[in-house]
Assembly symmetry: C2
Homo-oligomer: 413 residues x 2
């Protein structure tokens, strides 16, 4: 057995300490972590500068890796919010007496040991560890080499806080940053209950295709805003501009704008100025190209355009005949993340809400709301685009499994 | 695009017809299937005899493949029970107004297209298809070559019933029985939402390691009955005998009997006669071997014994020092299926129920109760030993996913 396998077993064997800890103890651990992130910011920032020194500041990951006092306070603030969330474990889901007298009860329990594999952002260490501790899951963290010193400094603080409150520090285990260790995780079906990849599509796809341990995917979003013929034009403009430009780098931003033929001219004409102000590049089909020929940032859509998650100030545009064509397009190209219709027509809205197969469907609102905090669930591990276990914001309430308990008096079949 | 991929797309594109069908229509389809299985039993039995003619009657699969009037009536009876279950879709899970006025609602919706891959038993075709239709999921069925004629005859009846009630027959699509078609399923992430393998561990493992489509596993059970020092001896005997012998071929049967040292002599001595009557082979550790030396069917346990799912009239036996050793043993060897403690000591019972990591944990009852029907959930697809989505009996209520619906009046972030 390798050192890492031994450490994983140690983490697993201590799971019980967390599952039976008093709520006040868990609260104290989380509070101590939040306080220490601010009080010991010097140590963390020193470690962070070591990591940054190895990276070219022109690298797009540089800003993601960078910590400062303000960002540490932000992380501490998020932990304070997690403290206030309800413990999702030990909730009774079902309770009844069977005819044979067996007392049947189904409760929520922690998943057990949760492993997270993530890329440069150091806030992920604190986010995942605190969500896991709050839900009484032990966790195993695998960060990137780029952030190795920073991650270690943050985990040191988590370890201090665990030990200060009488819990074993192995409950949060930071793996060495070498890529090869993930192969051990992928085979660890007896010690790890679920693996959560957080980062690029490449990472998620790699984990999904190699792991024997179940994976919870937080996938890409190719999100549509559909302007129906009965839309309030100004509302449609506001929603399209918000969904595309308020934070273009995230998964719930708009990627494709679908516009009904009947109002395409009026709508696209009105959209020109606000989109030009924000410098949005539009990739159009033939019909929208014709209507937008004077728009300076128009490009011709190609075969890949409608399957693209842009993550930038660019989007696809398509003129559709009617709601049926819009629904077919979304079924073909959507990634089942977030989809919106803008219309004053209630029947069309209900048809859209019921037919579209996605984690979150909107009527007259921006797709940007798909988020654990916005939905009132607190911090999230990511947005799940899978259909099993968790769909949409994957928040604290889903870091649990179920357990059937049966209390009898000698029942046999 | 291959013919099979086109057929899968056709199945998917008709999903909506099922999702919007009136409850009475779905009920009529199921009733017609149940009636026709009996009324047209001749056709099915003729097809079944064609399949049986190709198999050696000595093959252990022969009896599984065999249909007769009584078995068809049994299948029809199961369908009648499914009809009476509650539609698990369109249930409201969460509903509230967010501060910004957005009306948030989380509902259950069908998974979409469910694929099942299974071995010889022809009842699986009817079971899975009717559970899927009841939960408004389209389904794709891949049976074995051995049962090809029988499966086709049953699916013909399902198709008749769908068409008679105005629904497209492509909602239930029987794939050709060639093994190579499963590779198309494994890659069909856009058309299939979940794959359920039903059969041997080999099949389940093959699907799990090759499928890019999410898999719901119904795994093996290495189940323990632990006789605590404060057990009622007679109750312990009754439970051990029932858990091992009432139906030894199933996953929730007992595989290992753990006995506290303090009562090992008394308990094992009392167990001899009932186990010998049922001809149960016991594989013992050194301590239990010493106590059972006069038992004619005793064998010495080896390195694999405690990880074995026997599925026959055989089990492992081990004498443990105390509950702690029992818990460590179960954590090491259990497959997180069903585990039982027999004791009059409430504290020990609660410790066991809370600590053991398994789908179903029992105090003073047989592990044989882990079953959808027994738990009052109706027919099941299998017993899930995974922690995500469904744990324990995987019944109708879990053949759904969730969808967030947000109704607004122009909300943007």
């Amino acid at each position: 057995m390798s050192t890492i396998e031994k450490k994983l077993l140690e983490t697993r064997s201590n799971m019980q300490a967390l599952q039976t800890a008093k709520p006040a103890v868990i609260k104290a651990v989380l509070k101590d972590i939040a306080d220490a992130l601010v009080a010991q910011s010097g140590k963390i920032l020193t470690a962070n500068r070591k990591d940054l020194a190895k990276m070219n500041p022109q690298n797009s990951l540089y800003d993601r890796l960078l910590l400062n006092e303000a960002r540490l306070s932000g992380i501490a603030g998020s932990i304070q919010k997690v403290i206030r969330l309800k413990d999702p474990t030990n909730q009774t889901l079902t309770q009844r007496q069977l005819e044979n007298g067996l007392q049947l009860k189904k409760i929520t329990t922690p998943l057990g040991v949760v492993a997270a594999i993530f890329e440069s952002r150091p806030n992920v260490v604190a986010d995942i560890a605190t969500l896991c501790l709050k839900s009484r899951n032990a966790c195993v963290l695998k960060g990137s080499k780029d952030a190795a010193h920073t991650n270690k400094a943050i985990v040191n603080i988590i370890h201090q806080s665990l030990e200060k409150n009488g819990l074993p520090k192995s409950l949060v285990y930071l793996l060495p940053p070498e890529r090869s260790v993930v192969d051990i995780l992928f085979q660890a079906t007896r010690t790890i209950d679920v693996i959560i990849p957080r980062g690029s599509n490449g990472l998620i796809e790699y984990v999904r295709s190699h792991s024997r341990v179940p994976v919870i995917e937080t996938g890409a979003g190719v999100c549509h805003v559909y302007i129906h013929k009965d839309a309030d034009i100004q509302m449609g403009i506001d929603i399209a501009v918000n969904a595309k430009t308020q934070r273009p780098s995230v998964c719930n931003a708009m990627d494709t704008l679908l516009v009904d033929e009947a109002i395409a001219k009026k709508f696209l004409t009105s959209l020109r100025q606000p989109f030009e102000e924000k410098q949005v590049v539009m990739h159009g089909d033939t019909k929208s190209m014709a209507l937008l020929k004077e728009y300076p940032l128009i490009k011709k859509a190609n075969a890949d355009t409608y399957a693209t998650e842009f993550l930038s100030l660019a989007c696809a545009v398509k003129v559709v005949k009617n709601i049926e064509e819009a629904l077919v397009h979304i079924e073909k190209y959507g990634t089942r993340h977030s989809e919106a219709i803008v219309t004053r027509n209630k029947k069309a809205a209900e048809k859209f809400l019921n037919t579209v197969d996605a984690a979150a469907v909107y009527h007259n609102a921006s797709t940007r709301f798909t988020d654990g905090e916005e939905f009132g669930l607190g911090a999230e591990v990511g947005i799940s685009t899978q259909k099993l276990h968790a769909r949409g914001p994957f928040a604290l309430e889903k870091l649990v499994t179920e357990k059937w308990m049966l209390r009898g008096s000698g029942q046999i079949r």
